[in-house]
C-alpha cells in the first residue's frame, strides 16, 4: 500500500462546506422518504383506479418511472456527490445510459411482439 501518493481532488472541507453538505443531505433524505412512501401507497391502491380490463396501467407505470428518475437524481446527485463534480465527468457517467434507455424501450416492444407472434403461430 503506497501511502505517499499525492492527494488529488478536494478532500478536506471547511466547517462551512460541512454544514452546507449536512443540510443538503438531510433535505435529500426527506424527499427520498416521501417519494418512496408515495410509490408504495400508489402500488398498494392502484387496482381501485384502473379500468375493468386493467386499462390505464400506463399512467401508473409513468408515475413510477418519474418517481424513480427523481430518486436517481437525488441519490446520484447528492449522496454520490455527482452534482458537484465537473460537468465533463457527469456526462461520461450519464451518456452511456442513453444506450440503456434505448434497450429498455426496444426489449419491451420486443416482448410485446413475442406475445403477438405466439398468437399468430398458435394456428399450428
Amino acid at each position: 500500500m503506497n501511502f505517499d501518493e499525492p492527494v488529488q481532488g478536494h478532500l478536506h472541507w471547511t466547517e462551512g462546506e460541512y454544514n452546507d453538505s449536512k443540510k443538503e443531505v438531510l433535505k435529500t433524505i426527506v424527499i427520498l422518504s416521501v417519494v418512496t412512501i408515495a410509490e408504495v401507497g400508489i402500488a398498494i391502491a392502484y387496482d381501485h383506479f384502473l379500468g375493468k380490463d386493467g386499462s390505464g396501467k400506463w399512467i401508473i407505470n409513468l408515475i413510477m418511472a418519474i418517481a424513480s428518475v427523481i430518486k436517481v437524481y437525488f441519490i446520484m446527485g447528492t449522496f454520490m456527490h455527482l452534482k458537484h463534480e465537473k460537468k465533463g465527468f457527469i456526462l461520461t457517467v450519464f451518456l452511456p445510459f442513453l444506450f440503456l434507455i434505448w434497450a429498455i424501450i426496444a426489449f419491451t416492444v420486443e416482448g410485446s411482439s413475442w406475445m403477438a407472434m405466439r398468437g399468430l403461430l398458435n394456428v399450428f
Binding site: 501511502f3 478532500l11 433524505i29 416482448g111 406475445m115
Partner: protein, 228 residues
C-alpha cells in the same frame, strides 16, 4: 519548439500533468475508476432487468400482481395479516437509512474526523446485515409458499416470475453482502488510524459510492418486481 525567450506556461503545465501532477476531471483517480466500474455493473443489472421487461411483456396477460405475491410479512406470527408490500418497503427504508449514514461517514471523513467516520459506518453495516436478513426471510417464505425457480403458485402464475425474482434479487443480495464486507474492513481500517496516516479519507467516499450504487439498484429492482 519556438525559440522565444518567454516560458510557455502551457507546456510547463502539461509536463506536470504528464508526471501525475493533475487528476482526471479534478477528482481522485480511484474515485473516477470506481464510478466507471459502477457504470459497468449498471449495465449488468440493467441487462437482467431488461430481460425481465421482455419476458414480462411476452406474457403480460398472465403476469402476477405484486400485491398478491408479496402480501404478508414473512415472520411467523405476523404473516397472518394481509399487508401487501409492507415488508419490502421496510427493506427499502433500511437501505435508504444506510445510504444516509454512509453519506454522513463520508462527510465526517472530509473533516478528518476518525471517530465520526466509525460512528456512522456502524449503522451502515448493521442496516446492510438487517437487509440481508430480511431478504433471507422473504426468500424462505416465498419458497415455502411454492414459488421457486421451477414451480409457480396460484399467485405467481408463471415460473418465469420466480426465476427472474430469485436470480435478480440474489445477484443484488450478493452485492449487498460484498458491500457489508467492504464496510466492515473500512470501519476497522479507519479505527486503526489508516486514513489519518494516508492523509485523507477518500476510501470512505469510494466505498460509499459502491454502497449508494447498491441502494440505487435496489430502487430499480424494487420498482420492477414490487411496484409495476
Amino acid at each position: 519548439m519556438s525559440a522565444a525567450a518567454t516560458t510557455h506556461h502551457g507546456e510547463d503545465n502539461s509536463q506536470e500533468l504528464w508526471n501525475g501532477g493533475g487528476s482526471p476531471f479534478k477528482a481522485g483517480y480511484g474515485k473516477v475508476m470506481m464510478w466507471y466500474f459502477l457504470i459497468s455493473d449498471t449495465f449488468t443489472f440493467a441487462s437482467f432487468l431488461i430481460a425481465y421487461a421482455a419476458l414480462r411483456f411476452a406474457q403480460s396477460t398472465n403476469w402476477p400482481k405484486p400485491a398478491e405475491v408479496f402480501a404478508s410479512i414473512p415472520v411467523h406470527g405476523l404473516d397472518k395479516w394481509n399487508l401487501p408490500l409492507v415488508f419490502v418497503s421496510f427493506m427499502t427504508f433500511l437501505l435508504i437509512v444506510s445510504s444516509w449514514t454512509m453519506v454522513r461517514a463520508v462527510q465526517e471523513g472530509y473533516r478528518m474526523n476518525k471517530d465520526g467516520v466509525v460512528k456512522f459506518l456502524i449503522p451502515t453495516i448493521l442496516c446492510g446485515i438487517a437487509f440481508l436478513g430480511c431478504q433471507y426471510l422473504e426468500w424462505t417464505h416465498l419458497i415455502s409458499e411454492g414459488m421457486t425457480t421451477t414451480t409457480a403458485t396460484i399467485h405467481t402464475k408463471v415460473t418465469n416470475f420466480g426465476q427472474l425474482f430469485f436470480v435478480i434479487t440474489g445477484f443484488h443480495g450478493l452485492h449487498v453482502f460484498g458491500g457489508v464486507v467492504l464496510n466492515i474492513w473500512l470501519a476497522v481500517s479507519a479505527a486503526n488510524g489508516r486514513f489519518d496516516k494516508v492523509g485523507h479519507y477518500e476510501m470512505v467516499e469510494k466505498i460509499g459510492l459502491y454502497w449508494h450504487f447498491v441502494d440505487l439498484v435496489w430502487v430499480y429492482v424494487f420498482l420492477c418486481f414490487y411496484l409495476l
